[in-house]
Symmetry: C2
Subunit: 337 residues, 2 copies
């Protein structure tokens, strides 16, 4: 559902690449995109307009077409026996909906009531890096500042960055802007050669919804309501690939080598940390790849339990499409479907 969008396309590619055991597949979208053609494993499919009946006979429905579409169609799919893996924020914080990153809490998948939610992109990559530290050293406080790509705001935002970056460099501040920080917001700002400290709209407490997602989703995924998480989310002129400067206080006081080893051994995570050779992750190089890359791991100079790290991943891949497909794979492995 949402087959023609940026994430939908990535989902299709992940299903192909990972050789997911597909019996039959259908590609659904709104009436606007219906009729387009999609190639899947050498066969051409016509995108169908979604109706409640589209979900008859479906085992797993991957949704990535926006929150309101999920709210409308996910219950219809569930009613017809499908398990919905939803990439929107519509159901993430519902108590009866598991919020899953397979490297972190695969055991939650079995508790589903028809819907399994895929977390926010910036949350996914952070919890992948935090989970091995939680397992081995225990987590105290987390303070994260994000460096997020425009692809998280859709294809329109990518095009806007492209146009602004190619236009008059010396007047970047006067560039036309319609998409960011939020398409439906009152005010828009250019993103080329800029950094916008707003992703999603503001909540009443002065935090943005994006920041509150990182805070609340992390607690839910890690099963720790008391986990202290603070986030500042910032949009950058980067096409794809979110970066995060993460400060974490652990319960134990390991050496920096022990922290690096824990990261290196974690599933889905790749240690990329060799300052003497200028090796560290960067979004431009992480785009298109599956892994969560972690580098710049340093012990805090004032607190032996404090560590800093730099976490980078493709927000459309592990941050969205790959994680959804991995949830589906885990359902099969756990005989949940």
């Amino acid at each position: 559902m949402g087959a023609t969008g940026a994430v939908g396309q990535q989902m299709k590619e992940q299903l192909e690449k990972r050789d997911f055991p597909v019996g039959t597949i259908k590609f659904l979208a709104s009436s606007r995109s219906a009729g387009q053609e999609i190639e899947f494993k050498g066969k051409t499919y016509r995108v169908e307009e979604a109706t409640p009946e589209s979900f008859e006979g479906v085992d797993i429905a991957l949704f990535s077409a926006g929150g309101s579409i999920s709210e409308q169609f996910a219950p219809e799919a569930v009613k017809r026996g499908a398990v919905v893996i939803d990439n929107t924020s519509a159901f993430r914080m519902n108590e009866d909906v598991p919020l899953v990153v397979p490297e972190v809490n695969p055991e939650d998948i079995g508790k589903h009531n028809g819907i399994i939610a895929n977390p926010n992109c910036s949350t996914i990559q952070m919890v992948c890096a935090l989970q091995p530290l939680k397992d081995q050293f225990g987590l105290g406080k987390i303070v994260v500042s994000t460096y997020q790509a425009v692809s998280g705001a859709g294809v329109g935002a990518i095009n806007e960055l492209k146009e602004q970056a190619a236009a008059d460099f010396d007047h970047a501040k006067d560039a036309e802007a319609k998409m960011l920080p939020v398409k439906s917001a009152e005010r828009h700002y250019p993103i080329a050669f800029n950094a916008i400290p707003q992703i999603d709209k503001f909540t009443d407490n002065g935090y943005t919804f994006e920041e509150m997602k990182m805070i609340n989703e992390t607690k839910k995924i890690m099963h720790d309501e008391k986990l202290a998480v603070a986030a500042t989310c910032v949009r950058l002129p980067v096409v794809t690939g979110h970066s995060e400067s993460v400060y974490v206080e652990l319960e134990a006081a390991p050496t920096v080598e022990e922290v690096k080893q824990a990261i290196a051994n974690a599933p889905g995570v790749e240690l990329m940390d060799d300052p003497s050779n200028q090796v560290y992750p960067m979004p431009l190089m992480a785009a298109g790849l599956d892994e969560v890359f972690v580098g710049r791991i340093r012990q805090d100079l004032d607190n032996p339990r404090g560590f800093h790290m730099w976490v980078v991943s493709d927000n459309l891949v592990k941050g969205a499409a790959l994680n959804s497909v991995q949830i589906a794979e885990s359902m099969i492995q756990q005989n949940i479907i």
Copy 2:
């Protein structure tokens, strides 16, 4: 000294704009730039090649031509009776050299022994925002993640960003790179559509020199060797204007309104914080302006003594040229010269 560089030009403009009481002025540079012409207050000056004798009869010498030039010529200037205000990192951590931000520690100017150091750009804007909080609430721990512009790496880096941004958007990762993260480093990475978590070279402890500058300079300027400061410094595809995501733990637990009021009343700092109208500082809009802008002020959700803020300023203006000229002004006000 260094009159033709980006900061040198800004210094000249600040001296004009602020009507600094100039008797005579000379513009010095290396032999490479000597002979160029500079307009100052309606008069044309020819840039002279610096020699030790250039500083005969000079009261105040503003240096901004790189650390090795300062090491070579600053002692010669001091020997001839000039007070050197040095914008490089050459002398900043010397015990007998005051490191000054006039809004924070003007009293240190009088302790000079011929040289007064101008702090690193990213340090200056942060301490301007922290000082009112220190005065009213006391400072505990500080964790900062920076979002730094390429102009801090010189005109060559600006041109490289410009070329990369205008070139093939889809192959940004293969763009030619020679300037960043550090011109003299082994490896170079494209900055357009990227974020590079390295500014300056690495020290042995895994932190970069830029990060250690922020840590050590902040302690020195604020007269608190025990102040816990942690920094992660990241270069962005922004031309001018550094941004900083700052988490600060205070000794007191004020309300967020009290913190905002303290920032609003601080000299050189402008509160720009109205989330309901999407008002917050951004580097593209701060470029060319004198102020340190602070927004996104929020209380930590887990710690009533913890606050988050977003601090933006022009790294060439308050981060360099303006601060140097303000030091000179403060010398006059304090009758130190």
